[in-house]
């Protein structure tokens, strides 16, 4: 299978930079997969899990929102926060959810509130999905 270059960067460091077969991403308008030679594509991501497949290996990484930039040279994901699912503790997610709940109550404008609520819903989805897995 053809591989392509995948880079996952968080503000603090370059998390991952490898050749991969396939990456599944949580886009705002739905999940999508990227294979080699994908057409150029730029989207925002919601909080969720990125699945990276290389050969028979699968790595799952939790991200908290960000952007995916599919260019002819490869895929770049800019994540605000990225933690491998294996290292992710249940209380970490819980803390994120608590944070998001606070954001909802703190939100001053209806617009901000809506955004915060969206974020909270996404995080709850992730928590459910992870518990199920």
């Amino acid at each position: 299978m053809a591989t392509f270059k995948f880079e996952l960067v968080s503000p603090e460091r370059l998390v991952l930079s490898t050749e991969v077969d396939q990456v599944d991403l949580p886009g705002v308008d739905g999940d999508f997969g990227v294979l080699a030679n994908h057409s150029p594509f730029l989207t925002t991501l919601r909080a969720g899990v990125v699945t990276v497949r290389t050969g028979s290996d699968t790595t799952r990484i939790f991200i908290r929102g960000g952007f995916a930039d599919v260019s002819p040279t490869g895929l770049t994901v800019l994540a605000e926060k990225a933690v491998p699912v294996a290292d992710l503790k249940a209380d970490q997610i819980a803390a994120e959810i608590r944070n998001a709940e606070e954001d909802v109550t703190d939100a001053k404008t209806p617009d901000a509130r809506q955004r915060a609520e969206q974020k909270l819903a996404q995080l709850r989805d992730v928590a459910d999905a992870l518990r199920a897995a």
């Binding site: 880079e7 960067v9 968080s10 503000p11 603090e12 460091r13 370059l14 886009g27 705002v28 308008d29 057409s39 150029p40 594509f41 730029l42 989207t43 925002t44 952007f67 930039d69 260019s71 002819p72 040279t73 770049t76 800019l78 605000e80 926060k81 404008t109």
Partner: protein, 292 residues
């Protein structure tokens, strides 16, 4: 002429000072390395961000519906200055350099009849600006309790700036920090973050490729710009941290050397006066013996 005892005390005290400056220098060197690594590690994200923004903005520059963060409010009356300094002193001219640049900027703006508001990050900047422009400082953020400088800190600052922008409290925002060139050279820098200046040339060579956008170009830009500002602030804070340690290291190196020179001078003086005293006593004994 100080007595022998005084000189001895002096030497002991300078030696103690030298020990402290030496220790501070070594601590700064260790912290510098860590700060540099952190700055280094943050670079890919900033570069990628600039690239994506470059790609994206090339299409929307000059359009009327471009986000306000990019085109601004259309006025330049009220300026917000975000002055990032260190939390502590004893780092040579680091803090005063940044403050001097900010002060020049403020004076120029005031001379042009603009309104100036100041937000300080780090205690030293607030202390230095309080005397002349105390009334203009609208908020100070202290970094005292923060052990490692992470993205959340920068996001917090960014949130404050954006809230104020949304509320229409300023038109132009400029960030002041010190760029890290090397241990001996830190360059105080002013960078405008609102309206956000997109480097359209930062886009990769693939900028010509036809991109698909999801949800849509303006929406993505709307999401991307605040983050880009946060990244700018984050980069500035990291550079500042590295600069601070670098400046402290060279300042403490100088101090240690000066203390060494001083000890040499004082020891020479001490030995001379000790010898002079011995000679004097001998002469007294000899002339006493001769008189008999």
């Amino acid at each position: 002429m100080p007595s022998l005892k005084d000189l001895k005390n002096r030497i002991a005290s300078v030696k103690a000072t030298q020990k402290i400056t030496k220790a501070m220098q070594m601590v700064a060197a260790a912290k510098l390395r860590r700060a540099q690594e952190a700055a280094e590690a943050a670079r890919p994200f900033a570069d990628r961000m600039a690239e994506v923004l470059g790609n994206l903005a090339a299409g929307s520059v000059g359009r009327d519906d471009a986000p306000r963060l990019m085109i601004g409010t259309g006025r330049t009356q009220v300026h917000l200055l975000v002055v990032c300094t260190a939390e502590r002193g004893l780092c040579g001219g680091f803090n005063s350099q940044i403050v001097r640049l900010a002060r020049e900027h403020i004076n120029r703006l005031l001379a042009e009849g603009k309104e100036v508001k100041i937000l300080t990050v780090g205690k030293k900047g607030a202390d230095a600006l309080r005397r002349d422009h105390g009334g203009r400082i609208i908020e100070r953020i202290e970094l005292r309790g923060i052990k490692t400088l992470n993205y959340e800190v920068a996001a917090g600052v960014q949130q404050k700036v954006l809230d104020m922008f949304e509320a229409g409290q300023f038109d132009v925002c400029t960030l002041f920090y010190s760029r890290f060139r090397s241990v001996i050279a830190q360059i105080p820098t002013a960078k405008q973050i609102v309206p956000f200046e997109v480097d359209a040339t930062a886009g990769s060579a693939t900028a010509g490729a036809l991109y698909d956008y999801e949800p849509g170009e303006p929406e993505i830009l709307e999401e991307l710009l605040p983050r880009a500002i946060a990244v700018q602030i984050f980069t500035a804070l990291l550079e500042n941290a590295a600069s601070e340690q670098g400046a402290r290291m060279s300042a403490m190196d100088n101090a240690t050397r000066n203390a060494g020179d001083m000890i040499n001078k004082l020891s020479l003086q001490y030995n001379r006066s000790r010898q002079a005293m011995i000679t004097k006593e001998l002469i007294e004994i000899i002339s006493g013996a001769e008189a008999l």
